[in-house]
Symmetry: C2
Subunit: 370 residues, 2 copies
């Protein structure tokens, strides 16, 4: 194999496919990036068997061939080359010479024969969504997936297509995040659970242009994302996702409208009194026109009043402050509405248009101590 | 005690004195920042018994007093307060209320009685140096102090005053870094060894203006730095520093002039083939008009040619690449001159004006294998 491409193109490609290189594996071939120049295109590929990424790199093929190179070494070499044309040459024993200007690296690659190519996916109707929207919807929901494997379904996100709507849901047993996106077209109804890791990596490699699209294909076992010259294929998580509709009641006893930044800053300040693992709730004492926030810990106490608009009953309710912070951080609105029923029922943060719902369970607290 | 000052002033002061708070200590009082408003000034102080920092903060004292507050908690509270006036109030049982706008923190402080105030230093003739120059000279030498305590003197830097010159030296047994600074005035000759940690912290808190000065006072046991409203007092390292003059010969057999950036980039590229702890040298093969750099490791090999100007003999010599990278990074000149005698004698990187000398010992290498 012998090929020439610019350092910048090569680096862009390497950075993209590296996201599918596993950090730990017993199979050395999975630690490699495959350079496939066996046809008239240069393709880079990596695959950890759950997530596979393939991207096309502009360049010139002087001699066709395939080589697998250790991802870490190869990407470090590419990163440190001068900003010029790079030549990659291999021989029959997989010796590889990477040269750029006067610099010349010799490393030994592996045969591409053992490499697991991306699975072939029968492509049906493509769901079209802007790169910007996809990145946003991931950012706005990914924080509430479960951080352990106890329940596999909780480590993923529900992607549900209902006609011209995409509903994305994540939950971890203490909270639920829901975002609804309007699509340009109508599609067949479909529900899949996408691994959280796939979504995290996708949101790192999608450039995120408002006018650039991502095509999404769904099958029973896989989800495929196509954008620019890149294809990402991921396995889905098997199983029936949680039924959340029954948890979403619209009845409430107290409605609060509050400035988002003020509430976020205040809770953020309060949490500095809470050490990791020390589950101290933030207490909200909601009365007409005012919300008093209080926190009490071994370190000290903090309280602050915030101006609010209130409808309905007064309420005294406690929350894990982190859950509130996570949700408020991804809401772009200046003011948010909180809906509560009683100190043991979930609080909803939602907008009037139904674009988002964040459900947070309250925590018990010893009222006397606060 | 009761005082009021702006959040920004308070934060600036807290950030400065925090540098003298030890990360680990068995004495709880050392983990505190002392707020001393016992006179008509607000002073913040921290002291780890080696390094002590005191800074004055603008503000209003409504009631005089002193309090010691846990540095970590106090600085986090200050950092997260709204950008407004902060009031700090304490009572006789050291209960402390920190309030700002509607936010109110309650924490418990400690009596200032147990706090170790900065030692009183008899101030003699002040050595005047610009903040910029002090920061630069630290950056240009600090990398070659020893990173372990085997020889205490190697963990510090020599500050030597010779009439109107400040010579700063650091060495770790494999290399020596020397910077000579011209001072505006003449001073009495004096040699002290300043702990590396003190210099690292100083360079973080000195703003670094070209037109702003630092006053340095030297005694037998202490060095004092005064700038803006801050005073830093540090113990010195005891003992006679190494005699380096006998190592600095000006005879050479080979002189090389090379573009600094080209050489640095090339060595930097080569090091990616060297894993931590794997002591592979970079080999320089210096001939007329050209320097070939080669490195060979378990991962692979790399070679690159660089154009040079050469005087004297050809030479084949090997170095620890990190030592070359460290020195080249802090040299601002476009071209550097290397002086060598033979493959077992130190290489000098120095300028014609005697502003800097970097001495690097070569390493043995198996020529046949390279």
């Amino acid at each position: 194999m012998k090929l020439i491409c610019s350092k910048s193109n090569l680096l862009r490609g390497v950075n993209i496919v590296s996201k599918a290189v596993p950090t730990r594996t017993t199979m050395a071939i999975l630690e490699c990036i495959l350079i496939d120049a066996s046809t008239n295109e240069i393709k880079l590929m990596a695959n950890d068997m759950e997530l596979g990424i393939e991207t096309r790199v502009e360049g010139e093929i002087a001699e066709r061939g395939v080589i697998a190179l250790d991802a870490k070494i190869f990407s470090e070499i590419v990163r440190k080359l001068p900003d010029s044309d790079v030549m990659i040459e291999t021989d029959a024993s997989f010796k590889t010479v990477i040269s750029c200007e006067k610099a010349k690296f010799n490393i030994v690659g592996k045969s591409g024969d053992d490499f697991s190519y991306l699975p072939y996916i029968e492509k049906n109707d493509a769901i079209v969504i802007s790169q910007f929207t996809l990145k946003e919807v991931i950012r706005q929901t990914i924080f509430s997936i479960a951080d352990n494997d106890n329940n596999k379904l909780m480590t993923g996100e529900l992607f549900e297509i209902i006609e011209n709507e995409l509903k994305v849901v994540s939950l971890d047993g203490h909270r639920i995040s829901i975002r609804n996106i309007e699509l340009k077209n109508n599609y067949e109804n479909k529900k899949v659970v996408v691994p959280g890791k796939t979504l995290q990596e996708i949101s790192k490699i999608v450039p995120g242009g408002v006018d650039d699209d991502v095509l999404i294909y769904l099958t029973d076992n896989h989800i495929v994302f196509e954008f620019d010259t890149t294809t990402v294929v991921s396995r889905l998580i098997e199983g029936e996702y949680f039924r959340i509709d029954q948890m979403l009641s619209s009845a409430y006893e107290t409605k609060v409208i509050v400035n988002k930044k003020e509430l976020l800053d205040c809770i953020d300040r309060a949490t500095l009194l809470v050490k990791e693992g020390d589950k101290k709730p933030i207490i909200m004492n909601i009365t007409d026109g005012s919300m008093e926030l209080k926190i009490n810990s071994f370190i000290g106490s903090m309280n602050e009043d915030i101006d609010i608009e209130k409808e309905g009953k007064d309420i005294l309710i406690g929350f894990n402050p982190k859950f509130f912070i996570d949700a408020l951080r991804v809401i772009d609105e200046e003011n948010v509405s909180l809906y509560m029923v009683n100190p043991k029922a979930p609080c909803f943060i939602k907008d009037d248009e139904g674009k988002f719902i964040y459900l947070i369970l309250p925590v018990n607290f010893n009222n006397a101590a606060n």
